[in-house]
């Protein structure tokens, strides 16, 4: 059961029904079901190896799955990452996926691959969010600092003007100040209408930003609901918030 709060609406943008995924012999997802409404900011929490990354991969088509995935209330068959990108799903993978040998500007241009062209307005928008990228358009992405790379990864996703933005542990290994900057940007994007699903180890941070959350344990959803309710939940507090 879910009630919609904040900027979420009842129109479901994404639905996973009993999605299973495996890597060879290892089953990573044993039937994950979850719903993301248009405009939602959803956090996915869970311990290492719980299947958070695999869940995002299932959505973006980078791992083979069984079970149903619905986008815009349409069941998706034969998903591939390129097809999902075309449908408006932008996936910022674990470890900030950037093209390390390409320049900052080329990375941003590639973000707009599914768009008709590189819109100067979108580019200006990204640079307004992250002035540090504006200062170094020709720098090779691989030589950026960790924080700058995460900004670039997010900026690249923004260039695609996604309907659904997937982020895998955006705060990992970053200084608190940079993390705050990234999450402020995410909040602003969400207020602008982008639906966001973020996987985070930092549960406090994620629950503060999100309006809905799911908790994964060994490839299953064990809890789901309003972020505020989960924050108050005894077991979530003990396992993920640490107090």
């Amino acid at each position: 059961m879910r009630s919609s709060t904040g900027c979420g609406s009842d129109l479901s943008l994404l639905e996973l029904r009993d999605v299973q995924a495996r890597y060879g012999e290892i089953t990573a997802l044993h039937g994950v079901s979850l719903t993301v409404a248009e405009g939602d900011f959803v956090a996915i929490l869970g311990a290492n190896g719980a299947g958070k990354t695999t869940t995002l991969r299932a959505i973006s088509g980078t791992v083979k799955t069984s079970g149903d995935i619905l986008f815009d209330d349409h069941k998706l068959f034969r998903r591939s990452p390129e097809a999902m990108a075309r449908k408006g799903v932008a996936h910022v993978p674990e470890g900030r996926g950037t093209f390390s040998t390409l320049s900052v500007l080329d990375n941003l241009r590639l973000g707009a691959w599914v768009q008709r062209g590189v819109s100067p307005r979108d580019l200006a928008n990204v640079f307004e969010f992250f002035p540090r990228l504006y200062e170094r358009p020709d720098q090779q992405a691989g030589t950026l600092s960790g924080g700058e790379q995460q900004m670039l990864a997010l900026g690249r996703a923004m260039m695609a003007k996604p309907r659904l933005l997937l982020l895998d542990e955006p705060s990992l290994g970053l200084a608190p100040l940079v993390v705050r900057e990234i999450f402020a940007a995410l909040k602003q994007l969400n207020e602008g209408g982008t639906t966001i699903v973020v996987v985070e180890q930092n549960a406090a941070l994620a629950l503060a930003a999100a309006n809905h959350a799911y908790v994964l344990e060994t490839g299953r959803v064990v809890l789901g609901g309003d972020a505020a309710d989960l924050k108050a939940n005894e077991s979530v507090r003990r396992s993920y918030l640490g107090y």
Binding site: S60, T62, S80, P81, E82, A85, R86, A90, H91, P93, G95, G97, T98, F99, S100, T101, L102, D106, R109, L110, G111, W113, V114, G117, Q140, G142, T143, L144, G146, Q149, R156, A160
Partner: protein, 293 residues
Amino acid sequence: MANFIQQVVSGLASGGIYGALALAIVLIHRATGVLNFAQGEMATLSAFVCWSLIDHGWAFWPAFGATIFLSFAGGVVLEQTVIRPIQNGPLLGIVILTIGLLIAINGLTTWVWGGAAKQFHGPFSTAPINVGGVAFSKQDIGVIAISVVSVVLIGLLFTRTKLGLGLRAAAANPTEARLVGVRVPGMLALGWGLAAVLGAVAGVMAAPSLFLEPNMMQTVLLYAFAAAVLGGMDSPVGAVIGGLVLGVLLNLVGTYVHWVGGELRLAVALAVILGVLLIRPAGLFGRTAVRRV
């Protein structure tokens, strides 16, 4: 001095051919990690196609244009039918496949056109032109011009167009490229098509001075590999410059170091390259990968 300049220009002409073929090799290597040993025979096949068109009464330039187009299509088809099915297999398997392809194409050209060397009349006369007291061969100047134009066009395609951006992205990080929506398999096929085009340019430019026969590009392929290694296996600019340097070097060594003569030229050139690699293992323009975790 005049002789020296002549030798340099003539070296640049051969070097342009090595550079074009080296660029073809580097483009495929960057994108897929595959060393395409068939690149030389593919170029020979293109030259034969051009020769046949001319033999059927076509003028050189239309024949050259059609050859470029057919070579592009041939490269794309080759990737899709022969390379793609084993693309994800072990690298050694793919390398052996390209060697098999070399033998197969060589057999095909011998079967269709015969083993005897054919005279290939290029678009440029071999007559000399005088510039400030130095006589240059028109053919050399023409070959340099064509090589430069094709390499520059390929360069502009890669650096100035959306398609080029997709090609570079697919080569740099295929997984990531798919996530932003780039159709990576299509890009790889396109890469093979472009490499075949560069090979065709090299083959057709080489044919007038080398005589056209099925083994024509085998030595050239060796030089092209040497040029690619010299420039840095992953640097397109390095491949081209490596080709030019090698062409000039071979010519000068052959002319001025008499004990070397024609037979030892390749050995001397390879020794020089070895020296460069001892000092710069990644080649002149190769980058050691920058990576941050």
